[in-house]
C-alpha cells in the first residue's frame, strides 16, 4: 500500500471532518517536518511533530517494531524528518488522532548548539535568533497571523474595487517634512548622489504619490514599506515598517471614517475566523483580555467626537481629580497616549474617532475647516492602545494648499503634487494604518520587534 503524502493541516482537517471514505484514504500517511519534542519510554516513544502548516502538533508514536527505531529514539528537538505511519483516531485522548510510526528517515540533524530547547525562552533571547524563532510557538502564531492579516487587508480593498498602487520607496521628498529620513547613496565616492543625479531618500509615506492615482481611479490604496530614521527606542517604533494607505476621491471626512470603521472590523473578524488556534493561543498565553477587547471593538459603533470636545472632557476630568502624567490640558496641545486612552477607555468605553484637530499640530495637506483653526483630521482611538489609525480629508483648494506649502517650503519641490489641485481636483480623503501596530493590536503582542520578521530598530541590525 502506498502512503499518502500529507501535512499537519490536512490531517486535522480530515479528522475533524470525519468522513469515513476520506479517512480511509489517509489510513497510511507520509509526513515531512520537524521534531518539537521526543521522549522515549523504552517500550514506547512519543514525538511532538510539526511541519509548519498548522499551529497544532501531530503526535507520532513509535515502538520497537517501528523500522529505524534507533533513529527515532535518538531524534533531537529541531531535526527534520520524514515518517511513514498509520493514522489512528483517538477520540478519548487530548489529541483527536495519532500516527503510529512504521518507518522514519532523518532528513536533517540538529547541531548541539541548536538554540531552541524545550524550555520557555524569553522574547529578548528569541530576538537574537530571528532566523530560528519562527519555529517557536509564539512566532508560529505571530507570523501566520501577519500573513493572514496582510491578505485580509488586500481582500477588503480589492472586494470594494480599490486599486493597489506600488508607490516608490526611493523618493526625492520627505512627505510630511519631519526630516528624519534615510538617504540613499551609491559607492561613487566623488558624488554619492550621481545615480539619480540628485539627492534621494527612503519614503516616509506613500500618500503624496498615491493621491494622483485616486484622482484617476477614485479608490486606491498602498500597502508597502516605509522608513523613519528616528532614534525612538520604544516598543512601538521601528525604523522600517509596513503601511496601508487608502485614498478616496469624492470622499469627505465622514466617508473616510466609515471606511476606517469597516476596515478595522473586517480585519478583526477575518483573523478571528481564519486563525482560531493562533488567536486562542494569544488569548491564553499573551493577553487574556484579547478576545473581549477585539469582539467589543468589532461589535461597537465607533463614536465620533471633536478634538475640542475631547479637550473639554479632559479638563473636566482633571477638575474632578483625575491625575495624568501631563495634567496641563490646553486647547492646541498634542494629546499623549494617556489622554487618548482616557477618552476611549473611560469616557466612551469603546472605539472613538477624535476629529478636527488644531491645524498647527497636523500635516500640511489636511483640509482647513471653516473655523480657520482646525483641520478635517480623524484619529481612531481604541481601548488599551490609543491611536490605531490616522486620516484626514485633504486640502483640495489650490490657493490654501499653496500658501501652506510655501510656508513649509516644499511648494517648489512638490509642484507636481500641488498641480493635482489644478487638474480636475476634487474633495478627497485617506488614512494610514501602521500595519505592524495593527498586528500588535490584533495579537496582543507588546513589542514591535516581536511582530516583524527581522526588526529594524535604532542601534540594532544583525541580519
Amino acid at each position: 500500500m502506498e502512503p499518502i503524502k500529507t501535512t499537519n493541516f490536512e490531517l486535522y482537517d480530515v479528522v475533524i471532518a470525519n468522513e469515513p471514505e476520506e479517512l480511509k484514504d489517509f489510513a497510511y500517511v507520509e509526513l515531512e517536518g520537524w521534531v518539537r519534542t521526543n521522549r522515549d519510554n523504552g517500550s514506547i516513544g512519543f514525538i511532538e511533530f510539526n511541519d509548519g502548516t498548522y499551529f497544532k502538533n501531530v503526535q507520532l508514536v513509535y515502538n520497537n517494531e517501528s523500522k529505524n527505531h534507533d533513529i527515532l529514539s535518538s531524534l533531537n528537538t529541531g531535526s527534520a524528518i520524514r515518517v511513514l505511519g498509520k493514522l489512528v483516531l483517538t477520540p478519548e485522548n487530548k489529541q483527536p488522532f495519532e500516527i503510529q510510526v512504521t518507518d522514519c528517515e532523518l532528513e536533517g540533524d540538529v547541531a548541539e548548539d541548536y538554540p531552541l530547547q524545550k524550555k520557555r525562552h524569553s522574547f529578548e533571547f528569541l530576538r537574537e535568533i530571528a532566523h530560528v524563532r519562527p519555529r517557536a510557538n509564539t512566532f508560529q502564531a505571530v507570523f501566520r497571523v501577519r500573513s493572514v492579516l496582510s491578505f485580509a487587508i488586500h481582500q477588503f480593498f480589492q472586494e470594494r474595487g480599490f486599486i493597489y498602487v506600488h508607490t516608490p520607496l526611493i523618493t526625492t521628498n520627505d512627505g510630511e517634512g519631519a526630516g528624519n529620513v534615510f538617504d540613499v547613496v551609491t559607492h561613487d565616492t566623488k558624488d554619492p548622489n550621481s545615480f539619480y543625479g540628485r539627492k534621494v531618500n527612503l519614503t516616509v509615506t506613500g500618500q503624496l504619490h498615491v493621491e494622483p492615482f485616486a484622482l484617476a481611479f477614485r479608490d486606491v490604496y498602498t500597502f508597502g514599506p516605509a522608513f523613519r530614521a528616528e532614534h525612538s527606542n520604544t516598543v512601538r517604533h521601528a525604523s522600517e515598517f509596513w503601511m496601508v494607505e487608502p485614498e478616496m476621491a469624492f470622499a469627505d471626512l465622514n466617508d473616510n471614517m466609515d471606511v476606517i470603521e469597516d476596515c478595522v472590523k473586517y480585519c478583526i473578524n477575518y483573523v478571528l475566523a481564519a486563525c482560531p488556534e493562533e488567536m486562542n493561543f494569544f488569548n491564553t498565553m499573551i493577553d487574556t483580555t484579547l478576545f473581549d477587547r477585539l469582539t467589543h471593538v468589532a461589535n461597537s459603533k465607533f463614536e465620533r467626537m471633536t478634538y475640542t470636545r475631547g479637550i473639554e472632557l479632559l479638563q473636566e476630568a482633571v477638575k474632578n481629580g483625575h491625575k495624568f502624567d501631563n495634567n496641563k490640558i490646553e486647547w492646541g496641545m498634542d494629546l499623549q497616549s494617556e489622554h487618548e486612552r482616557y477618552l476611549t477607555e473611560e469616557v466612551i468605553k469603546g472605539p472613538l474617532f477624535l476629529t478636527d484637530y488644531p491645524k498647527e499640530i497636523k500635516a500640511f495637506y489636511m483640509r482647513q475647516n471653516d473655523d480657520g483653526k482646525t483641520v478635517a483630521a480623524c484619529d481612531l482611538l481604541v481601548p488599551a492602545v490609543g491611536e490605531l489609525v490616522g486620516g484626514s480629508q485633504r486640502e483640495e483648494r489650490y490657493d490654501l494648499l499653496k500658501q501652506k506649502m510655501e510656508e513649509l517650503g516644499n511648494a517648489e519641490e512638490l509642484a507636481w503634487y500641488l498641480d493635482t489641485r489644478r487638474y480636475g481636483g476634487c474633495r478627497h480623503s485617506g488614512f494610514g494604518i501602521g500595519f505592524d501596530r495593527l498586528l500588535m493590536y490584533v495579537t496582543g503582542m507588546q513589542n514591535i520587534r516581536d511582530v516583524q520578521p527581522y526588526p529594524r530598530t535604532s542601534g540594532s541590525i544583525k541580519y
Copy 2:
C-alpha cells in the same frame, strides 16, 4: 425622487445584468468623476465621462433643458464633475446606455496647461507626467491590471497555504554578492552609518531572509520591493522593482517547476478573467499577438530540458546556418536572450524550463548536482520574452555550502544563513518572479517605465 449614487462600474454591471427590478432603482442616478471629452452641438451635447471605477466611459447627454447648461457646455477635458441624470437604455447604439443629464456641478476645473488632451500622447511624453498619466486609457489599463495581478499572486499562494513574509528592505548583506547595491545612510556627518552601528544597504533579494521561514512554515513567499544600483539603461531594467519569492521546504527542483508552472498559468487566467476590457485593449492597441501568446502558454504543458541539451541544440542550429548575434555557442556560457528565445520559440514553440546550469554562472546557494559541474537551477523561458522566472533547489548540505561561501567570502557575514543547514535543514527550493516583468509579459507593454507607477531608473527621478 432621490438619485442613487453610483459608478461607471456599477452602471455597466446593472445594465448588462438587465434585471428590470434593479434597473428601476437606477432610473435616476448621481455620478462623480472626470470629463474625458465634451462636444456640444448647440442643441445637444455629449460628454465621455469616467470615474476611474471601470475601463469604459459612460456617455452623458445634455441639452438646453439640463440645469446648468452653461457649465455643461463649457466643461474641459479633465474637469471633475458631479452630475444627476436619467439612465436610458440604448441597445441599438454602440454604448448600451446613456445618462440624460438633468443637472451638473463643477467640482474641480482644469487649468489651461492641463497636459492630457484629446490627441494621442507618446509614452515618452506621458512618462514626464507620472502624476497625470494614470488618467490616460493605456495607464488606466496598466495600473488596474497591476493591481489585479498583485492580488492574483497573493491569492494563488494563500489558497495553497503559503505564509506571506515581509523580508526586510534595509539589510547588511548584498544577497548574491553582485555588489550593485544602494547604501542607506543618515545625516550624521561624522558617521553616516551610526544609526544601525554598521554599514547597511537596500536589499537585492528577500530569498536569504525568507529561507529560515520555509524551515519553520514549510511553504512561504515574499512579495515586496528590491533594488539594484545598475546603470543598465534598457527597457527591462529599473533600479527599484517588486519581486515575488516563494520558498518551499521538502521540495526539490521538480516540485519547484510544478509550482512555477501552476503559478504562471493561474496569473494569466486570473487576469484574463478579471480584466476583460483592459486585456482586450492591450490585445487591440498594444500587441495583437497578446491573447494568442497568453492562451498558448496557459494551455501548454511546460517542457523541461537541461542547459547541456540546450547548448547542443543551439550548436546544431548554428551548424545548420542559424545566425545569432553571438554565434559562438559553448558549454559554460551565459545564454543571451536570443539563445533563450530560439529554444522556446523555434525548438519547443512553447514554454520551456531550462535546467541544471553550469555552477560557475549561477548563485552560490544553488544545489550542486552529482556531476560536480552543474547546479539544480531552472529558468522558465517563454516565447516573445525569454526568461520569465528563475529558480533553484538550494544547497542544503552544510559542508558544500560552507565551502562555496568561504570561496565567495560571505561565510562569516552570513553565518546565520549557514547555520540553518545545521538546525534541522532539509531539501528546499524556491524561485523569483520579477513582478514588473511579469506585468509587461501579461500586458504586452514593452518598457518597464510604463508599468511602474513612478519608475526609478538610472539618471532619472522626478517624483
